[in-house]
Each structure stands twice: as structure tokens, then as C-alpha cells.
Symmetry: none
Subunit: 430 residues, 2 copies
């Protein structure tokens, strides 16, 4: 099974946009047990599109083309691929209906040039797009056209990630399963860890997993800010058993560090844990500037557990909104254990939440001192039971990485506390 | 001048790593006036490397291969390319000396298998690597070998970005300037707009730019949440003049919508404009959950203008921290013009800021009503001069897109107000 991906877009070659599709599709296909053999980026140019598609079809069982399905003059994918395959484009009534409904919901008439998105090459399958206007398209290309021996599938997906991602998961993955089922068992599991570096995670797992690796288990480590993903993959008769066994070993070896599976985000785990505990949260952020609140409120259902976030950038705001004492700021500074504790306590009292996290630090690039260099952070945690505490971290990174790593540490501190509290509070069986 | 990039690495195809080289090299070459025609990612496999390089050399004047120059068994680039070109590998004494010095500085003997990095295909030019062990390599491939008519250059660069980036800037860029100087003027300008959809932007610019397009101007539109980039590019004798003329036309046609150039972010423009006006900002966010505060505080120097952000998710928080009246919430609801205005006024008064933005809406997926469907948003703006106002928007997207689009609208509302105020406050010439 040979898969090739073609990403269209001048912006990719000009370096104006990161090619996030390449990574996402590679990852997704790999999770399903498939493997991408080649990826190509080409400009929005008709000849380039035809050339790259013809070349890929001469080799691959599945060719996925992204982008170029929009309504503007440099969106050429649909038209050029239909031309290459000698297929007529016909207006699809259902897609036209979807376009009209899409614009009606926005109190607008469907613009004339958007209607090109309802055109479908004859024999093509429409992949509806509930999140945008351009549908995806799937075509079976008969053996003998570009290569001998077997048919190929050619799938066109719209460029915007929020349209492409669900379309792949909901429509392309099932199509693949039907049309190109895997010939042998395959299993894959991604475990997300927080709080340890890549080489330390690898070191700790090396021996415990050695026997399974000898039997064919694949283990990959992938660094992300504030965490390391451990991917366990296996192909063959007992793939599922081996991956399950490996997961158990990872969880036993790193009991505190594994916070989720798959693509699960730490903020999702935190919101779910708060919801299960029927507990509420308040935030007091300085140097992370609202990033933790933003991450928490990205989770649907956050409004049930999240009361308020105070982004107190100035000292005055720390005093006014959180009741941090002027004397504390004068004596210990805004970036200190004492200020972090008072911020957390203040957020707890002023909002009535069950838990409050606070973050104060020096994001840089300026503002560091010899005693408190750029990257110094205090993370405070207050709850209705017990005294507030604060932990010190040093995150000497660029500004955005600093914020991301710090927010991860804060959420991880809260998650471990919630896990501990929920074990403690669990009622004994009646 | 045709340029192709080949990125090697299993991790790129498995989706374990973002292909940041593609963007970086594309952008860098574009800044120098060159343009990448095609980019390919291939696995760490000898046949794939030979095949992709031969194919690229059959078309391109310059082929850049990244990765696969390390010391491990899956680093095959050097060896396979030498094989493809029929060149012998010879140990280069200077590189060997560099390797020994590199390890000596780390109190280590040069590992035996690292010495493979001192091997250079005969006739090749070494690109020294002050930041790592593997040098880059440059080879001139004679016309007639893979294509007729002209020689090609084949350049191999090491994978780690902190080795590749300086090697490109310090050695590849000068080599290009010497060996493949630009034959004609080239110019490129990216204008960032906000507040209009892609097709509307194109429609408005279509006629005004038609004459320049007829003379060879390239115009591209690139969608981003809450905005559209308009890229103007031209090659030829009067490229700079034509792009400058086109920029003027875009700015005149869309006087309110162009907010920045190049990669500039709206939050950077807002922070800069506030700084120039010596004005301060407070935020009161509900449905965006801290995203606007997060964007503002991503900008270095934000602490000079940003006082505080209140993420008031619950009604109680809106009352406690912003002084929104209980009666307003009861009568008009949390998502209303009245609440938005009171949130903005409250943030202004409680922080003493010069400007305050407020945002209240229904992010969804739940919480909508027939009168106020999911996606309804009110954005309020208060300032020390004049009454607060609020504008209504409808952003019926998934949760994260909703937040991003809404934050863009809020920042854009503030930016236009700041621009207006700064024009108004500008002193007349003495």
C-alpha cells in the first residue's frame, strides 16, 4: 500500500505558511496503520498540479491532494485534475444546496464565484464539508491509466485545517477501511507524559520495554513543549496484545507522568477531572498572560467548572483584583513564592472557587536580574482544604515557548493535585 | 532559475515532526529573490534518496537536500548521492581536524562512527559546520548528466536547524549569489487585511489591479482566520516599481482593512500603536476566555501598555470584577450590547486604563437560543473619551475558530479606533 500526499499552495513554497497538513495526515494515517511514502509541495499552478498528480498516480495506491478547492482564481485543483483525467465537471445539486444554506445562515446570498465549488468531476464521490464551503472529492482511477495492475484512489481535500481534519476522520478514514483494508493486524497507542525530558523518558523505559522491542514493538519519542509523547506501535498477529502490554509497562514505570492518551490535551484532562469532582477553578495569571485561561476555555464544557481568570499584568492589578499586599510586592517582588501564594489565595477567595492556580514570572526577553533570571517562574495553588503552596521553575526559553511550557507546568501541578484529592475523597464501597 | 528542496527523514512522513525546514528555506530563498519550485519529503531509504535526487537534478538548477548526514545507520544521504553521481568518497583532513577539536572541547575522543562525516565526494566543496559535526556539501553537476543545457548545483545540509540555518545564511546564500546571481529584479510584498472574506477581497481588488496584472504582476490571496493576506509579487526590470504601485492601489482600495505587512500580527500592530500613543489597555473577556490577553502578551513589550485582563466566565465574576449590574444580566442577558458596554466600562474604571475591550458571546457547541444562536458575539469598546459602544457579530464556527475569529475582530475594532484617535490627536505642524 503506497500513499503519496500532494500539498498545493504557493504559500508553502514561499515559506509563508507551515505545512501542518503534512504532519497531521502522516500522523493520522500512521495511527490507522498506513504509512506515507512521499510528500510533495507544489505551487498553485495548473501544469505543476497535473504533473505531480500524474506522477503520483503512476506509483501510488492512494494519492491525497490538499488545497486549491476554494473559489478564487488560483484555486485550480478541481479543474486541473478533472482535465488530467478527462472528466467533465458537473454541478452537484446537493452541494449547491449546502452552499446556499451556508450563506443563508450568515444572512448572505451565495456569491456567484463560490458556486464553482459545487462542480464535481463525473463519477466522483462528494465528501461533504459541514465546516466550510468546498466539499472534498474522491475518485477511483482505473488500472492502466497511470500504472498497471491496480486501481488507485485520488482524494482531494480542502486546505483549511478545521475543514480537512474532520473530513479525513469522518469520511476518508472509513473509505480507506472499506476500499484499502490493512492486510494484517496493526496497533498503535500514544501516551502523553509531562514533567520529564525526552532523554530521561527514553532512559527510564529502555530496559522495561526491551523484551517487547525485541519481539517487534516500535517505540518512538516525540518532544513537545512541556511534555514527551511515547508512541507504541506494532504490526503482526499479536499487535494489539503487545501494545496493550507495553502501555501497562509505561504506566507502571511512569505512574505520575502519563496524563493522557492519543491526542488528548492536558487542559481536557483537567476540565474532565474537575467536572468529575464537581469542583470549580479560578486562575490568576501574570507572565502567562491568559494562556492558561485560554487553554481551559478551549475545552467544551469548561463553563461548568471555570469561574474566572484574572490576568494581572501590573502590580496594581495584582493588588486590586487579587488582594496581594503592597508590602509583599515591595519586600519579595512580584515574582516570588509569597506573591504567587497570595495571588492564588486571592483568586480563591474573590471567586469562591474550589481551586485556584496562580502564575508569576519573567517571560523575557527583558526584566531579568542576577537573582531572578529571565525564565524564573512561581506557580501557586490554593484550595479550600489546606494552605496555599508555590513551586519554583526555571524556563529560559523564547517568549512563546516560555508561556507554553509554564502553562503546561501549571496545569500539570493542578492535575496531580486533583488526582490525589479525588483518590482521597473517593467514598469507600457501601 | 528552478530550485527544488528534498527533505529526508522517516519522522516527516510518519508525522512525528513538523517540516520546519521547508518553510524556513522557502522563506529565506524568497527573501533573497529566489523561488522554490517544488519540495519533496522522502524516508531515510537509499533508493528513495537516489530516485528523488536524480529526478530533481533532471529539472532543477539548484537542489537542496536536508538531513541524513549524521553518523547513524539511517543517515544515507552522503553515501547514496556519491554513489548516484559515481563519485568516490575521500576523507577530508580539515573536517577530521574539526571533528577532533569538536570532541576534544567536550573532553571526548572522536567516536569511530562519527568519522564518516569527514568523507567528501571527490570534487565536492565542504561547507564547514561551526555548530555541529556534519559539514554541508556542495557539488556542481555537469550538464548532460541528468539534464541538458546547464550545470546544476546540489547542496546537502545537516538536519538540525541550529546547524542548517547559519550554514545557509553564511555559506549557501553567498555561493548562490556567486554561482547563480539573479538575472533580473524581483520584488514581493505581503499585505495583511482583516474584516473581509477571501472572495470579497479578490472581488474588490480585481479591477483596480487588472492593468498591473496584465503587465506581469502576480497577486495571491491567502486565507487565515479573521483575515486575508494579499501577496504582490513581480519579476523583471521594473518589479520594485510595480509592486510599490500595486501596494498603493491595495491600500487605497481597502483603506481600513490593511493592518500590516509581511508576517506582522494584528496584536503586534495593536501593541505598537498603543505604545506610540502612550496609552494603556484593559480587557474583559467572556467567550474568548483569555485568548485576546494571551495574544497581546505574546508581544514583547506588552507590559508597558497592558494593565489587566479579566476573564469573567461566570455571571458572578462579571458582577464582582467588572461591576456589571445584576439587572442588566437579568433583563438583557450576559450576551447583549448592554452587558458588553458595562463590561468595557467596568474594566476601564477598575483598572484606570485608557482603552478597554470587552467580549461576550456564545462559543458553543451548546448554549444557543433561536434569538441568540451559537456564534453570537458582542464586542464592546470603552475609552476615556466618549461613551462605550458595542458591535454585534455572528461567528458560527467550531469553538477554537470562533475564539480566534472573535479575538481578531476585537483587536481590529481596537486598532481602527486607535488609528482614528491618533490621527485626531496628531498635533498640527507648528
Amino acid at each position: 500500500m503506497r500513499i503519496e500526499i500532494i500539498n498545493t499552495g504557493d504559500e508553502l513554497l514561499l515559506g509563508f505558511r507551515q505545512n501542518t497538513h503534512q504532519r497531521w495526515l502522516g500522523r493520522r494515517l500512521n495511527d490507522l496503520g498506513y504509512r506515507v511514502s512521499r510528500q510533495v509541495s507544489i505551487p498553485d499552478n495548473g501544469e505543476c498540479i497535473e504533473g505531480a498528480v500524474a506522477e503520483a498516480l503512476s506509483r501510488a495506491d492512494l494519492v491525497i491532494v490538499t488545497g486549491g478547492l476554494g473559489p478564487t482564481s488560483d484555486d485550480l485543483t478541481r479543474e486541473r485534475i478533472a482535465g488530467l483525467l478527462g472528466l467533465e465537471l458537473r454541478t452537484d445539486a446537493n452541494v449547491l444546496k449546502h452552499l446556499d444554506a451556508f450563506f443563508a445562515a450568515r444572512n448572505r446570498q451565495t456569491p456567484e464565484r463560490v458556486k464553482v465549488q459545487a462542480e464535481v468531476p463525473e463519477g466522483g464521490t462528494v465528501l461533504p464539508n459541514p465546516h466550510g464551503t468546498a466539499p472534498g472529492l474522491a475518485l477511483r482511477v482505473e488500472a492502466g491509466r497511470f500504472r498497471d495492475g491496480a486501481d488507485s484512489w485520488l482524494i482531494m481535500l480542502p486546505g483549511p485545517p478545521r475543514e480537512l481534519y474532520p473530513m479525513f476522520d469522518e469520511q476518508v478514514a472509513p473509505l480507506l477501511g472499506r476500499e484499502r483494508p490493512l492486510s494484517s493486524e496493526s496497533a498503535c497507542r500514544n501516551l502523553r507524559t509531562s514533567g520529564m525530558g525526552e532523554s530521561l523518558v527514553e532512559e527510564k523505559l529502555d530496559q522495561p520495554l526491551a523484551e517487547l522491542v525485541g519481539r517487534g514493538l516500535g517505540v518512538h519519542f516525540c518532544l513537545s513543549p512541556g511534555g514527551v509523547d511515547v508512541r507504541l506501535a506494532c504490526v503482526g498477529a499479536s499487535a494489539n496484545n503487545m501494545v496493550a502490554e507495553a502501555e501497562q509497562i509505561v504506566r507502571t514505570t511512569l505512574p505520575d507522568h502519563v496524563y493522557g492518551v492519543g491526542d488528548e490535551l492536558l487542559e481536557e484532562v483537567v476540565v474532565r477531572t474537575l467536572t468529575e469532582a464537581n469542583a470549580t477553578l479560578a486562575l490568576a495569571e501574570s507572565c502567562t498572560g491568559g494562556l492558561v485561561a485560554n487553554r481551559i476555555t478551549n475545552v467544551s464544557g469548561a463553563s461548568l467548572v471555570f469561574l474566572a481568570g484574572l490576568v494581572t499584568y501590573s502590580n496594581e492589578a495584582k493588588q486590586n483584583f487579587l488582594g496581594v499586599h503592597e508590602a509583599t510586592l515591595a519586600e519579595h517582588g512580584a515574582v516570588s513564592e509569597e506573591t504567587a501564594c497570595q495571588m492564588a489565595s486571592g483568586a480563591l477567595v474573590k471567586t469562591g472557587a474550589d481551586y485556584a492556580l496562580s502564575i508569576t514570572g519573567i517571560a523575557g526577553p527583558t526584566g531579568g536580574t542576577p537573582g531572578k533570571p529571565v525564565g524564573t517562574v512561581y506557580i501557586g495553588l490554593a484550595s479550600k482544604s489546606g494552605r496555599p503552596l508555590a513551586m519554583k521553575f526555571l524556563n529560559p526559553y523564547d517568549r512563546e515557548t516560555f508561556k507554553l511550557v509554564t502553562s503546561q507546568q501549571a496545569l500539570e501541578l493542578l492535575r496531580r493535585r486533583l488526582t490525589k484529592d479525588s483518590v482521597k475523597n473517593k467514598k469507600p464501597p457501601a
